[in-house]
Symmetry: D2
């Protein structure tokens, strides 16, 4: 692994698919609020020791751009955080608006870039190859305009339906062919973002449950480009709690009979998931978690209901029915009331910094050390949150040790 050229003080791009959504707007406003000293950096994992001792790119050197299907101005997305979600004050909003106006110039608006694999006549009739070319051109322009040393692309769009599996997904050649043949039944928008970003030398993060990152063809492309990537499906609420709590039952030999969960949410993500076509991948990701940690399959239902009045404030209730000594049945229940974007946005910043760090150090392929950030971490079998987090700690410590050796070597050679 050869290190990618990297200029000190260079700036790094964060190219977001879904750049006008709640998570993206929260990320942009939050980044600016931190810069203005209007908020703490709570929620940002990479500021915790020992990660804060890695030479990660400072937040202020992240330049944001991206793509969205919405034609409304970015300011409207931010204003809705103030008015609807009530997560930011007027002062924070006002402080962030100038920065948002700049970012807006780097957002490509493609209102029709959304289709379902099952749709015989997608609204977007642009051929796939033309779309990926357009995406690539936009990323290229973004990189050039801001003289970015690297670009991290991240998918923050809503859940989309899964296409059927096809052998063409498993090779780069197959993927190229599907794109060339405009097979919108097998290539979803999320795959286009992924393909275009890797082609343009971006590392990639899939914060959605949408397919692509596990295709063999994508792995081949990332390998060829020597790029790191990771996913799927950011872990921000109920599943996060599940992966922290389930080990308790496993380690105490308390047999989980049923683990039932209901998720109520009213944001765009909730609206998308209200369509059963879109929830398949999400529910599968949520389901696998328990079997892995417990070693057996308890009865586990997960409901996702769209409740408009809750907006971005996701409320999840879980009931855990378990059996202890003498087969006595007991229960635990929890309610999680968190704001989805507030929980998700800082993780995207964390991972953008870590992805750039990995790319800078010539690391390619799935970034297993990011497992703790995802519901369905690629190639990582363990689901317990603390075990996943230890991967990040070990990765960090390995790099810190190398860094310290390098410093010592340099000191030696200086002497």
């Amino acid at each position: 692994m050869e290190n990618r050229g990297y200029e000190e003080n260079g700036r790094v791009g964060l190219w977001i698919a879904g750049a006008k959504g709640d998570i993206a707007a929260t990320l942009m406003v939050g980044k600016q609020a931190i810069a203005l000293g209007l908020t703490s950096s709570a929620g940002i994992t990479s500021d915790l020791p020992p990660m804060n001792r890695l030479p990660l790119i400072p937040l202020k050197d992240l330049v944001v751009g991206g793509i969205d299907i919405s034609t409304q101005p970015l300011a409207a997305s931010a204003e809705s955080l103030y008015r609807k979600s009530r997560t930011i004050s007027r002062e924070v909003l006002d402080g962030a608006l100038p920065a948002l106006a700049c970012i807006e110039e780097d957002i490509l608006v493609e209102p029709r870039l959304i289709w379902k694999p099952s749709d015989p006549q997608p609204a977007d009739t642009t051929p796939l190859r033309q779309l990926t070319d357009r995406l690539q051109a936009h990323i290229r322009g973004f990189r050039k305009k801001h003289r970015l040393s690297h670009v991290v692309a991240v998918n923050l769009t809503s859940a989309e339906p899964e296409p059927d599996q096809a052998p063409e997904h498993e090779t780069l050649e197959g993927l190229e062919q599907l794109i060339t043949e405009d097979r919108k039944d097998l290539i979803t928008p999320g795959v286009c973002y992924l393909y275009a970003a890797l082609r343009e030398d971006c590392s990639f993060l899939n914060f959605t449950p949408n397919p692509g990152t596990t295709f063999g063809g994508i792995a081949e492309l990332a390998d060829q480009q020597n790029l790191p990537y990771y996913g799927n499906d950011g872990k921000t609420g109920e599943t996060l709690v599940k992966t922290a709590l389930a080990p308790l039952f496993a380690y105490r030999n308390l047999r989980v009979l049923s683990w039932e969960g209901v998720n109520l949410l009213g944001n765009n993500d909730g609206l998308a998931l209200d369509d059963p076509d879109n929830r398949t991948a999400k529910l599968r990701n949520k389901g696998q978690v328990l079997n892995n940690i417990l070693g057996y399959e308890p009865h586990a239902g997960v409901d996702i209901n769209y409740v408009p009045s809750l907006g971005d404030w996701k409320t999840a209730w879980d009931l855990i029915h378990f059996q202890g000594f003498l087969d006595v049945k007991m229960t635990m229940q929890f309610t999680w009331q968190g704001c989805d974007s507030i929980l998700a946005a800082p993780l995207v910043l964390d991972m953008a910094r870590l992805a750039e760090f990995a790319a800078r150090h010539g690391e390619s392929g799935p970034m297993h050390h990011l497992a703790a950030f995802f519901k369905h971490p690629i190639e990582v079998p363990e689901m317990a949150f603390h075990t996943q987090f230890e991967r990040l700690l070990r990765y960090t410590e390995t790099h810190l040790a190398q860094q310290s050796e390098t410093l010592q070597d340099q000191e030696v050679s200086v002497q």
Copy 2:
């Protein structure tokens, strides 16, 4: 470390202070129900891999005896599990009664063996030395009668008030002197059990918050006798959940503003804790947990309320108020509805097996690998449940590796 003599197929004693309480009765009934095939072994940690590959003493070879202040027959304690707690069926009760009748013969009844350090005229006027002699004689008799290869003593009594700290606690000589001088203001019943048990070559487990295990004089005695011991305060409910959940907030850099908990319980433990004198140690143990895991001190209130109708079914409600990105405040709450004895009893069996195993292998002093079982694990700084549990895993793996080497050596020498 020289291994203690240990006969294959030897039986091991479990001498319980508080032998007629709910936990003890549940332990005895459960042990018997497992033997009769009336229940699974749910709740028993030492049956989980890899611990189940250690040559631990089988449950059936544990012989139970002990001491209690209650004059009611053991059968009445067990019957209350059936009638009040509804944790066992009539069939399980009936199946266990003959075994309980046998155990009853090995329970010393000392109705007045309870006093407060602040009490100028304790009900029990027996001099301390006479008491410890009596306890030692009982343990000796128990061991002899059943030809036990080892005895593990465990304190399962209710919370008691703490005596003032005194320099005499810190040396064995000082302890001996306090006992000889009948200083009931500085020596509590719990210390007598501990002293007598170690004197009689028992390993010791303190499942209560009561003092003694951290006295220098006790460490000296254990060291002199080459005995393992551990405590304090079995972790079975709210604190267990706390130590599993708090790392989630730490690892996500979510700042806990307040973690408020209320514990409702109606058993004898609850009655004892209803007296503020008795809850000091308990509340301290519950409080330390968060500071350690989070690295700062959130507002953290813990109420313990006596609610007779709940009996042994402890209900705990916790509210976690935390701050994320952009300083947005969010909440999580959980309700834990568990039966205390059902949660506690199997841990006592686990630890008895592990203590005997340690003693058999000549290990002495605090058994840090049992940290996950206690609210306030002696000499173990880390409070996160999974980190504590990893101590047990490492301990087990080390022994399994040694065992495997020994086997290989034996095979070699046989050849």
Copy 3:
């Protein structure tokens, strides 16, 4: 209204459709446990003042019989209360078994008496008329054997799919015709019970959501026979709480934005409701409640999930998201953990007593004073629990006043 002949000290029949289900078994065991002094009469509304001053039939004078599709003995149903639901002790079970053996003789077993309107070839090929004849004969025999002064019939079976509406339902002539023509697509088992019972001069209670009680043809038959009847769908859990709580929001002008509920249950009722065909009526009954009390339609989702491990212990969680002064959004949530049969059984006893009382006093048609017992009370518009309960209080007071007048008249005439 002419009073039906009624002998003092006469016994009254309670003929149950679903006589081997959890509710029926609980009712029978509980009635016997009360008779044996093994339990209090908690849960029985008719024992509360002022209802307890009405000359209602004593519980001991209720003779139970009925019909079921299950071939397992009644003792097995009762034993499952002891083993699975853990709602009764061995002593209560043993005390009730002799009485259950007697009741068993009065239970008609019809294993195939279940079909769906949509089923082209129902398992039960017996023509409907033959079925209703058989049901009538059984009721006649039951009445004669025990010399019953009156029989109250009650439907406690599981939810069944609704047939399409048909004009024939609305007249007695039409109903007769459907039965004669064996129209199993328009006549469900629940309608057969209702028809046969009214024909045999029984008052009728429909504790299920199943159709029939609102058919014009049934009203005509009840009128012709001068019989009281009521339904639908016993109110025992989440909806009960809803109708007690919703007025709070109405009276405080707190605007309910969303009222989301999830019901987890694992009994036969839950299994039946797991089939979407069977839940239509149930969900409709649950939904109407809020609109009526609040005067507008909030977002209101109701999930019913089958969770086998919970058995008869229904767990419901509701989230109420509401808006107060300055349009501030606030939340309330509740968890209800109740045993369905335990909540339902005493209501059936209450209503049986009140139905017999009504019949004895020559009252016929819908018993509006029983509105508080049902999710969907026939012809009663108000849904607030306290308003419904006041109907029962007023009814009781009217009868008490009449009774007192009659007594005075008698005293006068005696003088």
Copy 4:
């Protein structure tokens, strides 16, 4: 009852003790936000039918003034609603600030007007008579300045300790004497407000648990002045839910074994209640509720804990442990997350309108029809929320009927 002179279109004063607290600031901002069309009138009971058909004073004709111990500007109180409680938007705050500046001129600041009966040397050395004179002068000035047809005084201060009971409290002469003799051990600030307001011909509402409204001397004074008044202790959260839910258990004959509640709050009210001296009256009011509704005394604990991070967002958790048929124990729990000021402020507006209406119609003494607004409604025995609310409905209907008769009479006389 002779009607007080009342000019059509006259304006009415609302003189608030505690005019800079959270409730008062919320009331003022909300009143203004409604006037500006920035919010709905949610939370205002008197806008519900049939109350909205009474000729109540419009909100815009209420002129606010009062007294407070705080020297900070009213704008700071309002700003904290925006910054800390996040209950209002910047636009609402900005819209209200001019009105607040006007109100500020009518607020008397008395920083030392607070003392404890047990305090031998209160900070405020002003003699009581001088204080009440000063309060009376302020009210007089307020009335005159704004040409108010009537003034309603309301106490919104924090909980204060109770003085010992004294016979002097029970007569007006005694009260006068205590004031003249400067008995700060028997006369609290709350009594001064009450005395001064009644002397100045104000009707009075005691939204606090503080004493005074039940003194015989106060009743005498109100009677002499022909003034209506009412209290005590506004019902806004846990107790409100309790009084709506407890009838459910009573009407179903479900025996409540324990009803345990914990209240977490972080506002000034919480800080005041953190001092045990201040919580006596509050806890008593909360306790009486259940006994009254249930007819027996269940185990009922109420904790009130100060949790600063929650601010004005009170979180209450209640566990209800109850026994049903066959003495089976079941549970219900609820969590209430409401903003105290948001819940309280509209009730004050409601009652101010209703108090003015009563005064205008010459009604004097305790306004029993306001029972539903208080935890401890004076002279009203029934505690069930719906029964209390029916008092308001009946009162309203009586007035509407009178009004309709008067109109008819007028029509007749006009003819």
